[in-house]
């Protein structure tokens, strides 16, 4: 590296990695826009939850449906994809010490995404796109709405291409030795799924745009649903891959997680690439357009191979944490490693809560709801948002929040503001969401529909009276929602104040706890001096089947039992229905 590169890069004080300033700026703007989108989506969330809580019933119908569209676009698309763009830039440059490919083009693509975002926001807020997040034709929005989505998707697609180009540069310029780290491998997985997803986005939004301006007569509603979900669900699979990559990253930063076996973890990512995009069929299980064979093959991700991948990560992530802690000397008993874990580190608590809620609630409900027949009792009920708020929100968004607590000092070089609040924020957010999700799931089990303004049906020709328990579950959802919104707003306040008014980090002295700096940075998780010896001993055949990570094996055993119980309980429920064939 010559003197020239000194002026365009700096060395990270915590990790010793080279950070190129041109990449750093792109990471920053994407992260900032992500947080702004999160703010818009969170305000909408508060108003929505206060409307669905039938006892409060805040918004009029028009604004409920309008803000539901706003909430979906900002949370599922803008917040998450901008953050993923930041993750792609971070993984390809910072983690590999590499310079970004064509940073100016990166700014152009960012501009394209931003333009698309602004157009979509304008169309939605002005009432020109009251077609909800899914915009199923023949419901029609203003043509600019579709065009905005296209701009955004094309911009994101081009950034993904730049990510691959940056990987090539890093390889060619030998900025690292050997194979890319597992976290980058996970980011590559996310990027590949992103390409598949965004191409589907183009396939569905380009003809829909042409239809909206009258250039083609119609869009087949069933074909649209198929292609749209190849965008809509697969975009959530980008999140899953990115989230798992962040799990590995946060594990390494907070407790010195090790990778048990590269082969196993990487193979699981490959399974994601091969099978997870088939998940879009989950939305079409009770649609008239497809045969049962097609539904079974696709919704099972061809024999549940993507579920297998998640179950593998569900083991290797906590097992990596357990082994990491044991290799740091916390080797007592089955769960000593958990007792000594840094629960006050928001990066760590986010990681654990994300893994637990995503796995136990999101994963189990997802597989169950995505079963061809069980979907009959769940399709379009509140059980569905109950499920995806436990995956995308409690899982992905929480993992992103946890990563932010480390990105603030590392990339923005600012201390985390409101440090005490930051320490409890993940618990607040996850706790609120857990209540919300349970309320939604139980209410949905009683037949309460999703995307529905008034379940008192006051203007309907016939009355519908839900079981009185529904009121309780909707109150649970409302209160949970308010707590979760408080958690999200706390995060936003922390992020915004840190970025714009935060104290600069300066040196990061090792040892002392410093307010505003996650303990993983000032007290980096260091393994014991004789780490290889200890590792060898932990893996000794004499330790038997439980091996180096007995605690994790117990935990995944509990998970499996919960999974089996919930799954078969739903089959049992199904048998109470009318005969249908």
């Amino acid at each position: 590296m010559s003197a020239l590169s000194v002026s365009v890069s700096r060395t990270c004080p915590a990790t010793g990695r080279t950070i190129h300033l041109s990449a750093e700026r792109l990471i920053k703007v994407n992260a900032v826009v992500a947080v702004v989108s999160l703010l818009v989506g969170t305000i909408a969330a508060l108003l929505l939850v206060l409307t669905r809580w039938q006892a409060v019933h805040l918004l009029p119908a028009v604004w409920y449906y309008r803000l539901l569209g706003v909430h979906g676009m900002n949370m599922l698309i803008f917040f998450i994809i901008y953050f993923e763009m930041a993750v792609l830039w971070f993984a390809s440059t910072v983690l590999l010490n590499a310079r970004p490919a064509a940073p100016r083009f990166g700014w152009f693509n960012f501009g394209l995404m931003l333009l698309g975002t602004l157009i979509v926001e304008w169309a939605q807020w002005s009432g020109r796109a009251d077609v909800l997040f899914t915009s199923y034709p023949p419901l029609k929005a203003h043509p600019l709405f579709y065009l905005g989505v296209i701009f955004f998707a094309v911009g994101a697609l081009l950034v993904t291409c730049q990510f691959f180009a940056t990987l090539v540069i890093a390889k060619r310029e030998k900025t690292y030795v050997g194979s890319v780290p597992l976290v980058v491998y996970g980011a590559v997985t996310a990027a590949i799924i992103a390409v598949i997803t965004l191409v589907h986005g183009a396939m569905v939004y380009v003809p829909t745009f042409l239809w909206s301006v009258g250039l083609i007569p119609e869009v087949d509603p069933q074909l649209y649903r198929l292609l749209w979900w190849a965008l809509g669900h697969s975009s959530q699979q980008i999140n899953v891959a990115a989230m798992v990559a962040i799990w590995y990253m946060l594990g390494a930063l907070t407790v010195g997680s090790v990778v048990l076996n590269e082969k196993v973890s990487r193979s699981a990512f490959v399974l994601y690439i091969m099978f997870i995009s088939m998940a879009s069929a989950h939305h079409l299980l009770v649609d008239p357009g497809f045969s049962s064979a097609w539904k079974i093959v696709n919704t099972s991700y061809f024999m549940y191979m993507a579920v297998l991948a998640s179950m593998v990560h569900g083991f290797t992530v906590p097992a990596g944490m357990e082994l990491g802690m044991r290799l740091r000397g916390y080797n007592d008993g089955l769960f000593g490693w958990l007792r000594h874990a840094p629960w006050g580190d928001p990066g760590f608590s986010s990681l654990v809560l994300s893994v637990v809620v995503f796995g136990f609630v999101g994963g189990i409900t997802g597989v169950t709801l995505g079963t061809e027949q069980i979907n009959i009792i769940a399709h379009n009920t509140l059980r569905i948002p109950g499920h995806f708020h436990s995956t995308v929100v409690s899982g992905t968004a929480l993992a992103f929040m946890g990563a932010t607590y480390y990105l603030l000092p590392l990339i923005f070089r600012k201390k985390v503001a409101f440090w005490k609040l930051a320490k409890i924020q993940p618990y607040l957010f996850a706790g609120g969401l857990l209540l919300l999700v349970m309320g939604m799931t139980f209410a949905g089990s009683f037949g309460v529909p999703r995307r529905h303004w008034d379940i008192s049906f006051s203007q309907a020709p016939y009355d519908v009276q839900f079981n009185p328990a529904v009121d309780l579950f909707l109150a649970m959802m409302g209160i949970g929602g308010i707590i979760a919104v408080t958690g999200a707003l706390s995060f936003i306040a922390i992020a915004v104040v840190s970025v714009f008014f935060g104290k600069p980090v300066g040196d990061m002295p090792r040892g002392p706890d410093i307010v505003g700096i996650p303990p993983g940075l000032t007290n980096p998780p260091v393994h014991v001096a004789n780490v290889d010896e200890l590792n060898e001993a932990l893996h000794a055949p004499s330790r038997g089947i439980f091996g180096a990570t007995p605690g994790t094996l117990v935990l995944v055993g509990v998970f499996l039992v919960a999974f089996i119980l919930y799954y078969f309980a739903n089959w049992k429920l199904l048998t109470f229905l009318w005969k249908i064939g």
Binding site: P181, P221, L260, L308, E372, A460, G547, V556, W571
Partner: protein, 201 residues
């Protein structure tokens, strides 16, 4: 730094294709076996279970479908509720239901324990068929005729809630299905879905 263990942040030098530990292999095997159980359940239910969303599916022109529904309603009309015909066709026959913003047409009257071919379609946009309080849900897509063999197992006065957003009046889209027992009376085992006003047959 040069230890054999490394975190997910470190590039991996040399060959990382090593055999996994026994515990990991066991978990992967268990997870794989469970995935096979999950996979087997769906085809199995088609042979041994009674609730399958397969049905007969074909494209249909909305106008043709509507004409067919009107003819069906005219042929088997037995009563009326606020202008909407109550239609009772003999068991085993095809019964037609249509969704349009923001109503369901007609009101179906079925017999408990008898099988019917229930046709579902839409005249305009996507709708959601949600039978309350049984919680049976199907997607209704314009241009497609979804024909399901259904056998009501309990009698009562049921509701159809639209559970797919179909426009600003979506939440007012409620229909009615009446299931009568052998004596011809709907048994009041469905206390949560009673008629708000008007004549009860």
């Amino acid at each position: 730094m040069l230890t054999k263990v490394h975190t997910g942040l470190d590039p991996v030098p040399g060959i990382w294709w090593r055999p996994a530990h026994k515990a990991e292999k066991v978990w992967v095997a268990i997870a794989f076996a469970w995935c096979m159980v999950l996979f087997a359940m769906m085809p199995l239910w088609h042979f041994r279970g009674g609730q399958n969303p397969s049905g007969v599916r074909r494209r249909v022109d909305p106008k043709t479908y509507y004409a067919r529904t009107l003819a069906f309603a005219k042929q088997y009309k037995v009563a009326e509720d606020r202008g909407v015909p109550i239609v009772q066709a003999p068991p085993g026959s095809d019964v037609y239901l249509v969704g349009l913003t923001f109503q369901w047409y007609p009101i179906l009257q079925l017999e408990r324990g008898k099988e019917y071919m229930l046709h579902l379609s839409s005249l305009d946009v996507n709708h959601g068929f949600s039978l309350f309080p049984v919680n049976v849900n199907f997607q209704i897509v314009p241009g497609y005729d979804y024909a399901l063999r259904v056998t009501p197992t309990a009698s009562g006065d049921f509701r159809i809630i639209c559970n797919e957003f179909c426009g600003i009046g979506h939440h007012t889209m409620v229909g009615r299905v009446i299931v009568v027992d052998e004596t011809g009376k709907p048994v009041a085992d469905n206390s949560h879905a009673a008629v708000k006003s008007g004549d009860q047959p």
